[in-house]
Symmetry: C2
Subunit: 180 residues, 2 copies
Amino acid sequence: MKNISELMIDLAYSALIYNNKEIAEEVIYLEEKIDETYYRIQEEAVEQAIKDGNSSKALITIRLATSIEAISDSAVQIAEVVLRDIEPHPIIKESIKESDITITLAKVSENSVLANKTLGELNLASETGMWVIAIKRGKKWVFGPTENTKIMANDILIAKGPIEGVKHFRDLCSGKSREI
Amino acid sequence: MKNISELMIDLAYSALIYNNKEIAEEVIYLEEKIDETYYRIQEEAVEQAIKDGNSSKALITIRLATSIEAISDSAVQIAEVVLRDIEPHPIIKESIKESDITITLAKVSENSVLANKTLGELNLASETGMWVIAIKRGKKWVFGPTENTKIMANDILIAKGPIEGVKHFRDLCSGKSREI
């Protein structure tokens, strides 16, 4: 639930920066998954409380899950700005791009070292600081790729990471740099 | 505002994992900063709307700021679990630690390559994927250190990053690895 809520926030900001409704719609879809998990956690917590004859653990669990659910609601609100065809002020987009932690987009060239390797093989996150949060392949999207997701030539990657990691990441995608 | 709200979430989870009230109190303190910024953004947005004779930009700005403010509220709710002396179920702590993105803690040894260097010189985030989100130095804390923050021997660092980056980070802190 924590992972999905963080992915939702990252995708919501991405949707905003790139004015992309498909990414925004994924945020709305993930909200349904969050809600399902949220209700399941509530049920399990209360069942456990009945077994224990004690409410304290159940209440903390429910409280934490409620906080995470609220984070995902905020992501939905950001995504809805994009879905409502409202173009945010350029200053807002710039302020997100110029954060210490930024979001960037790059196309994987045919001769990139990333092509035909899984994210697990590449260890991009620990080697470059850049997390791939979404991949556009042709007309399809892969949101929240895992270590088993293979990167292909011509993929468009959206990644989150430190601003000083962006150049290296883009050079790896273009094939200009071959050293991860 | 976006950076601070994300730091608050990371600190709130750190407070939870390490059952640390000082970190939780910092989350409460940062909420005040967020609120100040939030009200200033509202004021500026409405002033701008009056100048423009048009409300649309102001409403988007206010809406986005409201979403970010809601994220920081969720961080406060998580921090309050810690401040109320409630010990969360160990499974909750484990599930946060075992996320793809984890939080870890390590002490900087006298012979660590990190000692006496600024975060800007080290480029830890882009070289190892690990973001230092808080430093404990003696009895004092540095929350949300910047590129100008110098790491000192005996500092305790709390960092966020990919689970596969944790070993390298801890080895750099202990002095076992000297290659960043």
